[in-house]
Symmetry: C2
Subunit: 352 residues, 2 copies
C-alpha cells in the first residue's frame, strides 16, 4: 500500500501528523504501507509556483490512496484563479477521476449538545451523502467571463452524461445496500433539463437494485427537510454543485464538523481522504485543531481503498472511547470535559 | 390600484379568500382598488390547457400587482414539462420582469418553539433574502437533453450579465439601508466564473452605497452558517439558483413556513405576492391551511407596490395580535393554544 500524504495549509500539517501517528501504530497489527509526502494547495504555490505541481501529480498517480489535511488561506485569495489552492483540489479530483465523494454526517451521542438543532431532532443522526465530484457545472464547458455588447457576461455550463449519472447512482445504491436500503436522489427537475436526465437515469438504475427504496426530492425542499427532519434520510445522492451545498448543510447539523471525514473514490476504489473542514488559518500552529476528522479519514481509507475493515473499525472504536472518556479539543469542548490540544488528542486515540 | 387575484391550486383558493377579506376590510380606510380573478398553474391547465393562458397574461400585464395562492399538485406531475404548473410561475416572473424576489425569514416570538433549532440560536431571527429571479441557470440557453455519441446528455447554462447583477445588487443595498446596513452576497467564485462576475459587480455597486457594509460568502459556507448562526445575517443577496436553495433553508429555520410571505418585483415596483409555502394538496378544501403567509403577502403588496405603509403595518400588527391571543392553525399549533381553521384565522385577523 502506497499512501501519498498531502498535509496542505493552515492546520493541515498538525492534524495530518496525528493521523499519521495513528496509521503508524497499526504497523504492529501487520498492516504494511509506505507513506510519501507531497505538496498540494497554498504550500505548493509557495514552493513550486502552482497548487498541484508535477511532482505531486506523479506521486498521487503512483499511490493507492492519498491523505489530505486541508488547503487554502487568506494569503492566497489574491492570486489569479489558476493559482489558488482550491484549484489543486479540483485538479487532483479530476486527474484521478475521483467521481464518488462519500460524506457521512453522523452525530456522536457524546456531542449531541454541539448541534444548534434540538437534540430530539438530531439524536442518532446518521446520513451518508454521495456527491458526484468530477462533473456538473464544476467542470462544464463553455465557461468564462466575456464582453458582449459592451458589458461583461459570466457563464458556466451544468452538464451530465447518462454514463456519469449511472456510475455515481450505482455507488449510492451500493452504499444504501450496506445501510438501511433507502436512497433519496436530489435534483431540480422542475426547472433544469440536466437534472431531469439525472432523475431519469437514477430511476432506471434502481432496476439493478430493486432491494433499495428510491425517492426523489427537489433541491430546495431537500435544503428544508435537512433542517426540518434530517433523520428521514439514509443515503442521499446528488450532483457536484447541489452536493457541495447540501453536504455542508448536513454536516453542520451535527454541530461538530471537526469530527467528519470524507472519501473521494475512483472506479477502482483508489481514493483521496480528507476531513470536511477547512484549513482554519486562524488557529494554525497552535496545537488547537481537532485531528479526529483526519484520523477518521484514515479509517475510511482503510475501509474503502484497502479493504481493512478490522483496522478501520479499530480506529473508529478508539475515537468513540476517547469521546466517552471526556477528551475534547476546543471546537467540541463543553464545561465538565477535559480540554486537550491536537497532539493530546492524538495521544488519547493512540492510548485507546 | 388594480390587483390580479390568482388563487391557483390546492389550498390556494382558501388562503387567498382570507387574504382578500382582509384587503376588502381596508376599503373602509379609504383604500381603493379593483380585484380581478385569473387562472394560473394547474387550474389553468384544467380550464384552458396551459398553465399561464393568454387571458391571464393580459390580466397581469394590465394589473399593478398580483396576489398568488400556490400552484401545483401531484395530478399535474405527469404532464410534459411545458404544461406543468411551475411553468406558469416561471412564465409570469419572466414576462413581467419580476427580477427581485424578497423573502423575509422572520421568527415570531410566539412561535419560537416551532423551530427545530434551539431557541437561543434563532430567537429574534430576522433575515431578508434578496434572490435574483429572472436570470441564471433558470432561464439560460442553451439547455436541453440530447443524444451525443450514443448516450443522453443533459445540460443547462448559468449566465448573468453585469446589468442583471447590478440591478439586483441595488435592490439589496437599498433594502439593507432600511434595515441594519449589512449585506452578505453569496456566490461560488472559487469555482464558477459566472459568480466571480457576480462578486465583482456587487463589490463595484457597493460604491453607490458606502453606508452599507458588504461581505461575501461562498454558497456552501452560507448553507452551513444559516444552521450554525443564522442571526449573523441581515440582508443576503444571491442568484436565482442559490437563492432558491438558501431561501428555503432559511425559511425552515423559523419552523413556521405557513407564516412567511414573499414579493417578486420589477424595476417599477409592480409585483407578484405569494406565500412561500406550496399548494399542500393533502389538506386542500378542509379549512386547515394557515392563511397568514398570504395575508402577510398582502401587507408586502401594500408596502412595496402601493406605498401604503400604514395599511401594511396595520395588517402586520393584526397578525401579531392574533398570535399573542393564542390563535393557531394546525401547522403552528402547540398545546394550550386555541386551534382554529383557515376561515377562523381570517376572522381573527379581521377582528384585530
Ligand atoms: C474548495 C472547493 C473547490 C470545494 C468544492 O466546492 O468542491 C470544497 O467546498 C469542497 O466541498 O470540497
Ligand atoms: C416552483 C419552482 C419553479 C420555484 C422555483 O424554483 O423558483 C419555487 O421553488 C420557488 O422558489 O418559487
Amino acid at each position: 500500500m502506497k499512501i501519498a500524504v498531502l498535509a496542505g495549509d493552515g492546520i493541515g500539517p498538525e492534524i495530518v501528523a496525528q493521523a499519521v501517528r495513528v496509521l503508524e501504530a497499526l504497523r504492529s497489527d501487520g498492516l504494511r504501507f509506505e507513506l510519501e509526502p507531497g505538496l498540494l494547495g497554498g504550500c505548493a504555490v509557495d514552493a513550486a509556483g502552482e497548487p498541484f505541481p508535477e511532482a505531486t501529480r506523479r506521486l498521487v498517480t503512483d499511490a493507492d490512496a492519498a491523505l489530505l489535511g486541508a488547503v487554502g488561506g487568506p494569503r492566497y485569495d489574491m492570486l489569479p484563479r489558476q493559482l489558488r489552492p482550491e484549484q489543486g483540489l479540483l485538479g487532483i479530483r479530476k486527474m484521478l477521476g475521483l467521481f464518488a465523494n462519500l460524506r457521512p454526517a453522523v452525530l456522536y451521542p457524546e456531542l449531541a449538545n454541539a448541534s444548534t438543532l434540538k437534540s430530539e431532532v438530531v439524536a442518532g443522526l446518521d446520513i451518508l451523502i454521495v456527491r458526484e465530484l468530477t462533473g456538473d457545472i464544476y467542470f462544464g464547458e463553455p465557461r468564462g467571463i466575456e464582453q458582449r455588447n459592451g458589458q461583461r457576461i459570466g457563464f458556466n455550463t451544468m452538464i451530465y452524461s447518462e454514463a456519469e449519472i449511472r456510475r455515481i447512482a450505482r455507488v449510492a445504491f451500493q452504499a444504501a445496500r450496506k445501510r438501511n436500503h433507502r436512497l433519496c436522489s436530489v435534483d431540480k427537475m422542475n426547472v433544469l433539463e440536466c437534472t431531469q436526465l439525472w432523475r431519469d437515469v437514477v430511476t432506471e438504475t434502481n432496476q439493478e437494485y430493486p432491494d433499495v427504496e428510491l425517492s426523489h426530492m427537489l433541491v430546495d425542499n431537500a435544503a428544508m427537510q435537512l433542517v426540518r427532519n434530517p433523520r428521514q434520510f439514509d443515503v442521499m445522492v446528488t450532483g457536484n454543485m447541489f452536493g457541495d451545498i447540501l453536504s455542508d448543510e448536513a454536516s453542520m447539523l451535527t454541530g461538530s464538523i471537526g469530527m467528519l471525514p470524507s472519501a473521494s473514490l475512483d472506479d477502482r476504489n483508489k481514493g483521496l481522504y480528507e476531513p470536511i473542514h477547512g484549513s482554519a488559518p486562524d488557529i494554525a500552529g497552535k496545537d488547537l485543531a481537532n485531528p479526529l476528522a483526519t484520523i477518521l479519514s484514515v479509517a475510511m481509507m482503510l475501509r474503502y481503498t484497502f479493504d481493512q475493515e478490522a483496522a478501520a473499525a479499530r480506529i473508529e472504536g478508539a475515537v468513540k472511547k476517547v469521546l466517552a472518556q471526556g477528551y475534547r479539543t476546543g471546537d467540541i469542548y463543553e464545561p465538565g470535559m477535559k480540554k486537550i490540544g491536537t497532539t493530546g488528542m492524538g495521544d488519547a486515540v493512540l492510548a485507546n
